[in-house]
């Protein structure tokens, strides 16, 4: 029993709950200045939903610093994601200490949250009973957490037809979430987490296939397969490819399907639209996009949901570069601050991009991050009581283009207009000798 394992070596094996906890503690002990462990809440059986945070100032949101999250193992028997995230935490700490500039820059400029397991209860069941022989486990009383989120897709589809908001659709959070008895404690905890931290980019890790899946997951018509594009379809395709292209298995065009009769006709270059693959209502991915500013994709990382332990290293090798590269995608598009004329931050400002029917909002410090692919855009910032400002901007591949807004409040504008009027009147009177 290694009381304090600070050797930094990654051992590619399965981690049960205690082992996972200890592994994260090890990373924290090895890199205490750039990491922090916290818990988002408890699972049904009382296990902590542990998160390891990595940034140059752990525990603090630095204005302008984008927030990123990885969530694994939301299906308890899909084990690879959980393990990869534990290895990733160790890896980032090791690389940081060894002076890897890319990793150092990433950790200094991003706040990375890693939750290896959203369903620790499910994992314990899967691991204890079946290990690799039986990798499909269902539980009588189990809830599929990826169908447990409030279904906001339906609302947005309605709004598309009848008019209505295109973002932040979770109204009345207390009733919708805290008083909703159908939500599992894990779901509730994660929803609170999403509301508390202004996440910009995220991925949730699954198993059972190999593809990067992006919104929308639920089909518009309700049919089982239908391409269901979100307003940010182009951005999501770029994000998904940013993951898949570094994973040799995922991006292999000749990869055989996981099971002989699988229908992976919707997979192209290792990515797929959710609805085109199959409809999923109540999933966490779409919930992120429609309730908050966070763009999330779903990563399926292994044909085998709970592969033998000796396969884990190989999955790490396949995914390591993708995992790091995907985090870097958070630094794309436009980002900046919205302030009033006195320099005070204006939170909850809507940032709209012309041609994309999905707005995001500024966080408490007036900071925002709008992911976009390269191109020219018209971006506007509007807040209640303020005059909207529109700016043109050219966006490159990376890094994000800085774009700040100074908004004039309506009151100020009225005052100005009054003054202008007075000036004009004065001038007129002088000229006309009133």
């Amino acid at each position: 029993y290694c009381q304090i394992c600070i050797n930094g070596g990654i051992s590619f094996e399965y981690h049960r709950y205690e082992e996972m906890r200890k592994a994260l503690v090890s990373v924290w002990l090895q890199c205490p200045s750039i990491t922090r462990i916290y818990t988002v809440g408890e699972s049904y059986e009382g296990r902590e939903l542990l998160v390891l945070e990595m940034s140059d100032n752990p525990g603090i949101h630095e204005p302008g610093e984008p927030e990123f999250k990885y969530i694994g193992n939301m299906h308890g028997n899909e084990a690879v994601g959980r393990e990869l995230l534990i290895y990733l935490a160790q890896y980032l700490c090791n690389e940081y200490q060894e002076g890897n500039d890319t990793i150092i820059d990433l950790i200094h400029s991003t706040r990375i949250h890693i939750m290896p397991s959203m369903n620790p209860d499910g994992f314990e069941k899967a691991a204890s009973q079946y290990i690799h022989v039986w990798n499909k486990l269902k539980f009588l009383k189990g809830i599929d957490l990826n169908r447990n989120f409030p279904d906001l897709d339906r609302i947005v589809y309605m709004n598309e037809k009848e008019g209505g908001s295109n973002n932040h659709l979770l109204k009345n959070m207390k009733k919708a979430v805290d008083e909703n008895t159908k939500l599992a404690p894990e779901t509730k905890a994660v929803i609170h987490w999403i509301m508390d931290i202004p996440f910009v980019l995220s991925a949730n890790l699954h198993g059972g296939d190999v593809v990067a899946n992006y919104p929308y997951d639920e089909t518009r018509s309700g049919s089982t397969h239908e391409y269901s594009a979100s307003p940010d379809d182009l951005v999501f395709k770029t994000l998904a490819k940013a993951y898949s292209s570094y994973n040799p298995v995922m991006s292999d065009p000749n990869r055989p399907a996981c099971r002989k009769n699988d229908d992976d006709s919707s997979f192209k270059e290792g990515i797929t639209n959710g609805g085109a693959w199959y409809s999923v209502p109540g999933g966490m991915q779409d919930f992120n996009y429609l309730s908050s500013n966070c763009f999330e994709i779903t990563l399926e990382l292994s044909c085998d949901k709970f592969p033998p332990e000796d396969a884990l290293k190989q999955y790490w090798d396949q995914n390591r570069n993708s995992l790091v590269n995907y985090i870097e995608q958070v630094h794309r598009g436009v980002a900046g601050f919205v302030r009033d004329l006195q320099g005070n931050p204006i939170s909850n400002t809507s940032i709209s991009v012309e041609g994309i029917d999905h707005d995001i909002t500024t966080a408490k410090d007036g900071d925002y991050w709008r992911l976009l692919g390269p191109g020219n855009y018209k971006v506007s910032a509007s807040a209640p009581g303020y005059l909207t400002v529109v700016k043109k901007v050219a966006v490159s591949h990376s890094p994000a283009t800085r774009l700040d807004f100074e908004l004039e409040s309506l009151e100020e504008r009225k005052e100005e207009e009054k003054e202008e009027l007075m000036d004009w009147w004065k001038m007129m009177s002088e000229t006309l000798n009133f």
Partner: protein, 475 residues
């Protein structure tokens, strides 16, 4: 809920003689959405259709809800199928074209599916042979298997082939042909999974000792991480009881007591069975049922035991085992009464095992020669000496254990020192070593604070936190 799926399994298991199988549908998520086709024909209706083809047993009473299907239905169904196949005696295999037919249009399979055809074995050719084929669902004497048997058979096959594909093949065929619904497939899965679980547990127990002693590296003390994992898999009980969870303080006591009793009882049995065991059945040499579960975690001790496998060594062996078990019990007692922490107990025992490795090396170097060369009388003498030497060694160790607290603290100190050294590697971390900020007391306070917060939130255990604080305090 019990066994309605069994009846269906029989039908399709019969059909499953075929070699080429469609593999089952994709991830969990999918199964719920591609299966609407199977909802349409509830089991009873299918049974009814099947029965209508040929003379049949009395039909199962159609229940109001599908869920209330009873054992009787299944047995009836089974019987009816058995009779049907007895009659048909058909050799025609199902051709690949049939597979294709069912594989193409998943969306609207109601049109394609002809259940009457499926059940008419003359057309589909259920290849029913009465041999002892693991895929067949009959016993050797031709009587149909019970639901339980079938589940067991599937589980056995999966276990042997180490391949869940066995189940998938059967179920996907069943589902594709619409003979079971999704929920029935789930139920079947549960049953088989449970059976499989039992198999794994049972076999793991039987093979545990043999397997573990193969897997352990020689320097098991250093390779602590591996130790933990090995311990986890075969005998979680050990891990649970010695984890030292604060919550389970009470439970640990009970568990320890029970195990102590069990071991004492089993020790008696073990001694009785030595003769049989030493007949050279290596894998089951140390049957865990004989209460030697504890000893499996001491690979060097095992090696030592193994080297004493001749008739003359029997007494020495028994002495060794007794002494070792006493040591283990002693340590367990100390943990139970809080004299040492579980971690310290474990590391003490691991150190002990390492010491045994050393002793074994020395001993084997000396003893093998006299044992093989000297004549019976001389041998007996040497044996006694060896036994005494070994016993003396063990006794020495045992006596050092009596001064337990000191020894155990040494072990703890050793692990602390190692950790201390590793902690110094922190200096690569800029927080700790940056010229401007380096202030040991500040660091200590910061870590103390963090540790307390983590203990509060359940991220760290109290004893882990104490160790960390102690180490930082000693910097």
């Amino acid at each position: 809920m019990a066994s309605k799926r069994v009846g269906i399994v029989v039908v399709l298991a019969v059909i499953s003689q075929i070699s080429a199988f469609p593999t089952p549908a994709g991830p969990d998520d999918k199964s719920m959405y591609n299966r609407e086709l199977t909802e349409e024909k509830p089991l009873e209706q299918q049974i009814a259709e099947a029965d209508s083809i040929k003379k049949a047993e009395p039909k199962p009473t159609p229940p109001a809800e599908a869920e209330s299907n009873s054992e009787d239905d299944d047995i009836t169904f089974l019987k009816s199928l058995a009779e049907k196949s007895k009659e048909s005696n058909n050799e025609t295999p199902i051709s690949d074209s049939v597979d294709e037919r069912y594989g193409t249009d998943e969306a609207d399979t109601t049109k394609n599916r002809r259940l009457a055809d499926d059940y008419d074995s003359t057309k589909n050719g259920m290849d029913y042979k009465y041999q002892d084929d693991p895929e067949s669902f009959r016993q050797l004497d031709g009587t149909p298997l019970t639901a339980h048997d079938i589940v067991q058979k599937i589980a056995n096959k999966i276990y042997e082939e180490d391949d869940r594909g066995v189940f998938d093949r059967i179920v996907s065929k069943l589902l594709k042909l619409g003979l079971i619904t999704d929920s029935q497939a789930e139920t079947l899965e549960y049953e088989v999974a449970e059976a499989l679980q039992d198999l794994i547990t049972k076999n793991a127990k039987d093979n545990m000792i043999g397997d573990l002693s193969m897997d352990y590296p020689v320097n098991s003390v250093k390779d602590t991480q591996n130790n933990m994992d090995e311990e986890d898999r075969p005998s979680r009980r050990y891990d649970d009881e010695d984890e030292g969870d604060d919550d389970n303080g009470g439970d640990d006591d009970n568990g320890d007591e029970e195990r102590e009793d069990e071991i004492r009882d089993d020790t008696v049995r073990a001694e009785d069975s030595w003769d049989a065991v030493s007949d050279g059945n290596d894998r089951n040499e140390l049957n865990p049922e004989d209460g030697l579960q504890d000893l499996q975690f001491f690979p060097n001790f095992y090696r030592l035991l193994k080297s004493l496998d001749s008739e003359q060594d029997k007494e020495e062996r028994e002495t060794l085992i007794t002494i070792m078990k006493t040591l283990i019990d002693f340590v367990k007692m100390m943990v139970k009464y809080g004299t040492i922490t579980p971690e310290e107990g474990v590391s003490y025992l691991e150190n002990l095992d390492a010491m045994i490795a050393l002793q074994t090396k020395n001993k084997l170097g000396k003893s093998l020669v006299p044992l093989s060369i000297t004549p019976p009388t001389g041998k007996a003498l040497d044996d006694d000496d060896n036994t005494k030497t070994e016993a003396a060694n063990m006794q020495k160790e045992y006596e050092t254990l009596k001064d337990s607290t000191k020894d155990v603290q040494t072990a703890a100190e050793i692990s602390d020192n190692i950790a201390h050294e590793k902690l110094l590697h922190f200096c690569t971390d800029q927080f700790l070593c940056s010229v401007e900020d380096y202030d040991l007391s500040k660091l200590r306070d910061f870590m103390d604070q963090q540790v307390d917060a983590y203990i509060d939130k359940g991220i760290l255990e109290k004893d882990e936190g104490d160790v960390i604080k102690r180490i930082y305090g000693s910097l």
